[in-house]
Amino acid sequence: MLFYRADHTNLVIRLDSNEPLGILDTDYIEDYNGDDGQLTIYNVDTITDTPLSMVPLPFETPGIPNDVFQGSILLSSLPDNDYQIRGRVRDVIGNYTILSAFGSPNGNERVMMFEFSIVGGEFIPSALRMRIVPVIERGAMVDEFIRIETIENLTRSLVVQENTRSRTITDNNRMQLL
């Protein structure tokens, strides 16, 4: 996962669970060292830990307690590097999930890897390359089929109806073609 630094001041990390988390010692999340209420942002390149306090977001899923948490940290404290989010949580009946790694595991936890990289700059879609492929018939209508590609191999299709001047589509990277 790439995070483009762009002009952001903070990195916000949101954790979603598919079920309510159970209480640990004093909170619902513990970092790599077992300290409650926070996660560890582990810098893979410099082998350093940065704690990230996590707070619940109870209004994200009303009626389901302790399943969404969020923390924020100044991006200036995180150089461009590869990172792991580390820590551990449990459900209400005691099944544990480790985020990437945990210092003193029980040995029977589920493990899920969470890695990302912080990079400078801003994500900008590459210049579009367009080509027109053979005409296809759809009933009485005749459409032109246009394939749009970026250098990141993002591919989206656009169907332009005959005699229609333009039509808009939006993909996950917010590219728009008018």
Binding site: H8, S72, L99, M112
Partner: protein, 303 residues
């Protein structure tokens, strides 16, 4: 006044019979001289008056009076010979008295012919016997959830009354009582994995099971069977001891339940009985099995 017991249960409100269990109310005499039954009943109050008569519902009919003091037993064929088997059928009861058995009521296994019976358990098995005293009893077959039996949440007292007389018109009123109680709620009724029998979440597939733990004699329950959940129409449980879903003893059932593999909701139904093959009291059970840690998602946002 004597107490009517169902598998030792029924002596008090705290040691009651569970409402709905099958019960055979056997009216019998040890004097073997009854010639006329005046009435039989099950009432909510004590006293000689019989309000809720069941005389017309007993088997054999109250007019079938089969007594004698000279019955015999033939070991070959396990035949109990009495004066007449007219009106009798399998599952009726007979009072037997002899030095080679424990005096009491026994269930008739089959009616062989006009004078011969076989008895469940064959209590005189071993050698031929003479002078087997007997009198056929009368049984009212019902369950403790059906009128005239009454129950409530704290244990309702029922009075079972028997009025009979001998050839000399010497009548005897006999009365016995028992307590019938509605099923409690939650884990006091069925304790599944240490808690309520519905709505729980467990971390593995093996679950403890306790039936009516607060009632001294488990409400008279002796056997259990597994069946489909009445709403979900499925059963995901087997007996931990011995496997399967068929009828087992209370002790085997309390060895626990094992849910089918995989996480998720598990459904089933427990059928409680007071005897093997008897009338069942059913209760739906469920538990959510969650044996793995939470599934997490991480989202990075710029702020």
């Amino acid at each position: 006044m004597a107490v009517v017991l169902l598998n030792s249960a029924g002596t008090s409100a705290d040691d009651p019979i569970l409402k709905g269990l099958g019960i055979d109310v056997v009216f019998w005499t040890s004097s073997m001289d009854v010639t006329t039954i005046n009435d039989m009943g099950i009432d909510p109050t004590t006293g000689a008056t019989i309000t809720n008569s069941v005389k017309s519902s007993v088997t054999p009919a109250d007019t079938v009076v089969t007594a004698g003091a000279t019955g015999s037993y033939t070991n070959s064929g396990s035949l109990y010979t009495i004066s007449s088997t007219t009106g009798l059928a399998a599952d009726d009861y007979i009072y037997l008295s002899h030095a080679s058995l424990t005096d009491g009521i026994y269930k008739i296994a089959s009616v062989v012919d006009g004078t011969d019976l076989t008895i469940v358990g064959d209590p005189l098995n071993g050698s031929d016997q003479t002078n087997v005293a007997y009198q056929v009893a009368w049984v009212y077959i019902t369950d403790t959830g059906t009128s005239p039996f009454l129950s409530n949440g704290t244990g309702d007292e029922n009075f079972i009354k028997f009025d009979a007389q001998d050839a000399g018109a010497n009548a005897t009123d006999f009365e016995a009582n028992c307590f019938v109680r509605d099923a409690p709620t939650g884990s006091s009724y069925i304790e599944l994995e240490g808690g309520d029998y519905t709505g729980q979440t467990a971390g593995d597939l093996s679950h403890t099971l306790v039936i009516l733990s607060g009632w001294t004699n488990n409400g008279g329950v002796t056997h259990l069977q597994l069946a489909n959940h009445s709403v979900q129409t499925q059963n995901d449980f087997t007996w931990t001891t011995g496997g399967g879903t068929g009828e087992v003893t209370l002790a085997t059932a309390e060895g626990g339940l094992t849910a089918g593999a995989g996480d998720g909701m598990k459904y089933g139904r427990l059928e409680l009985k007071s005897s093997a093959g008897g009338t069942a009291v059913g209760i739906d059970i469920d538990i959510n099995v969650d044996s793995s840690g939470p599934t997490l998602g991480i989202t990075l946002l710029g702020g």
